[in-house]
Amino acid sequence: MKKTFAILLASTAIAVGAGIPAWSAMHGAALSSARADENRLVRLASDDDRGDDDHERSGRRGDDDDRHGDDDDDDREGDDDDDGYGGSATANPAPAGTVAPPANGLFGSGAAPKVKVN
């Protein structure tokens, strides 16, 4: 009888340990979807070539001329991180690996993304 209880206890602990995070992710997805319905009924599909996004952006991102093969994080000389575009300072996001991904219901766990650029 003790063995039965021990097995039940162990398997229940495993089920709870694996099930709760997964359930939370599902629940988070549902919440995220509901939130989008309530607050952000913005239709995003930009199927067409819109004229209003065709502007040139002269002077943007400093005057760095390191162009071809530039896959870096554009940490350019003389380009401070706190000189907000248009005069408003905006905090930069935390890079991957420094904090967990946001709890937006899309991610199954808090595991850091793996990234590769070829």
Binding site: G19, A22, D70, D71, T90, A96, N104, G105, F107, G108
Partner: protein, 156 residues
């Protein structure tokens, strides 16, 4: 003994669905040789109604440029809390970005669509440059982009 087996079967049945509620998914975005600086890319998801559901990756770390990722910015207001922990470097012309994420199963075959907005310094913005519905059938396929994105796909 039968009771033990029954208990094991029951708890295993309860456990397995929980384990299977997320899976590793690799998103692959290849850029064209457009002849400009590294591109900022916002990779995000919309639901079946076309409403923003969340961001999966941001390539490019400076918030002041996010307004050029027009559709993403319109949905989020450029809120960097949406992309903490999922932000990396911008991606150079002709390069391929591969991101492996642990994504909820609920995203697949449920009307969600994967989108990429792109922006390059001193060049035209590329809102919704590429998009592909998140379905099991689309896994392993690639779709073509419009402006900077050559192809977008995912595998799982």
């Amino acid at each position: 003994m039968k009771k033990i087996l029954a208990a094991l079967a029951l708890t295993t049945a309860l456990t397995l669905p929980g384990v299977a509620l997320a899976r590793p998914v690799t998103l692959t975005t290849t850029l064209k040789n457009y002849g400009g600086d590294g591109a900022y890319l916002a990779i995000y998801v919309t639901d079946a109604k076309g409403a923003y559901a969340g961001t999966l990756w941001m390539a490019g770390g400076k918030a002041k440029y996010y307004e050029h990722l027009a559709d993403w910015y319109r949905a989020t207001g450029g809120n960097t809390a949406e992309i903490n922990g999922i932000t990396g470097a911008s991606v150079g012309a002709g390069r391929t970005l591969e991101i492996t994420l642990d994504l909820a199963d609920a995203l697949f075959d449920a009307g969600y669509t994967l989108h990429v907005d792109a922006a390059v310094e001193d060049m035209r913005d590329g809102p919704n440059d590429a998009s592909v519905p998140l379905t099991s059938a689309n896994a392993g396929r690639e779709v073509q982009g419009r402006r900077y994105v050559a192809s977008l796909g995912y595998s799982m």
